[in-house]
Symmetry: C2
Subunit: 237 residues, 2 copies
């Protein structure tokens, strides 16, 4: 019996990747349930409210003993406490979670660059609106989020986003820089000099032994056009 | 010196209202800073990163002693622990927060019904896209969220969303039913019979002594078309 069961869509990085990175860096014993033979059925059952307790609204969710925790930032807070991946003081805990929730906000906005009208319409059926939304995202929102994160990192000394050692927030920053560079390579290249601190943090996280091993493994699903970060050249700068 | 200073936009309910409701139900000593004479300047200064610690990305944020906490759900979690407005067990704490984050997700989607393309464009400049997004919201997303919350309430016995006494989640449900009924009166009326539990919960919260007193006071800002829940008849069912 593994310590954790992670439930998330089996063919994308998506929001679940933020949890996978934390589990991998922690060296935790986990199974990515929906990628096993009978896992999708088990996930859909729990999503349908078949569990004994509070049902999740959507994946990802994490089973840890009898606890079932949903919402990405909530899961990261839980894992952060248990695996030393978050500061312990009140200012540190609530601060790390504040940053985790700001990451979650950015994820919604990245998703909506390709799905501005409805999540259940095809991209092709909302392409004109997607072009307008992506242009606004690249011009205003992406610089606002990344400028904020760069400022937080710099104010904290440049090595970690919060506290004096690695936290789940640093792992999430790695994923954001990787994802935005995949989705919007031209826009990210143009502004590379503005986010030097975040790019260096991305590189440091990428080369941590457990993260490097994870990235080289089949457990890391490649970016693709079913996920949150999608590369549609017509939406890039 | 009040116990808490709340920083939020002074002319709308918005996300800050979820915090105001918790502070009011707790009977907490707080000041709504941006509604005081020099408050807006103080808020903009902290938003610009002038504080000694982690800057907020956006309002609302709460000052409690030397702690400054941003992100609505994060603030509610903090107040919930301190004022008995959340269960104390792990399952209860993480469960309440999971629901708080699902409320936050719904808020984003409600906002995007009138601003699907860009937050910095006028509604009038994205009206056609807003009509499509609002139609999808009313047809698919609103029933999905409300159906989920109704199911959670019913599974927990029908009186409270989680645990065996009032929590901040119940206060947030009051606000969601009030807000959606303001923004989409026809859509909400059509489906009234599906959300009987949530409507009864709304009424119970509304008549709690401290909430009733708050609603009758000038501290409660009326709904208006600058907030998250806006009544544009052309976006209703």
């Amino acid at each position: 019996m593994p310590t954790y069961e992670l439930f998330y869509w089996p063919s994308i990085q998506g929001r679940g990747e933020l949890v996978r990175l934390a589990l991998e860096e922690a060296g935790a014993d986990y199974v990515d349930v929906a990628r096993t033979r009978t896992g999708m059925a088990a996930m859909m059952k729990l999503l349908g409210g078949a569990g004994p307790s509070l049902a999740p609204f959507a994946p990802p969710f994490l089973k840890s003993g009898s606890l079932v925790i949903a919402q990405t930032a909530n899961i990261l807070m839980y894992l952060g406490e248990r695996h030393g991946l978050a500061p312990k003081s009140d200012a540190g805990r609530f601060g790390a979670h504040q940053l985790g929730l700001t990451v979650a906000d950015l994820y919604v906005e990245v998703h909506d660059t390709h799905h501005p009208l409805a999540a259940d319409l095809y991209y092709e059926d909302q392409k004109a609106a997607a072009k307008r939304r992506a242009a606004a995202f690249i011009a205003h929102r992406m610089p606002k989020f990344l400028g904020y994160f760069e400022g937080v990192l710099s104010k904290n000394g440049g090595r970690f986003m919060i506290g004096s050692r690695l936290s789940y927030v640093d792992l999430s920053m790695f994923q954001i820089i990787a994802g935005l560079s995949y989705a919007f390579p031209r826009a990210m290249k143009r502004r590379a000099s503005r986010y030097k601190g975040l790019r260096a943090l991305h590189d440091r996280v990428a080369s941590r032994p457990r993260i490097a091993a994870y990235r080289a493994s089949a457990r890391r699903i490649p970016f693709n056009e079913d996920g949150i970060f999608r590369h549609y050249p017509e939406l890039d700068a």
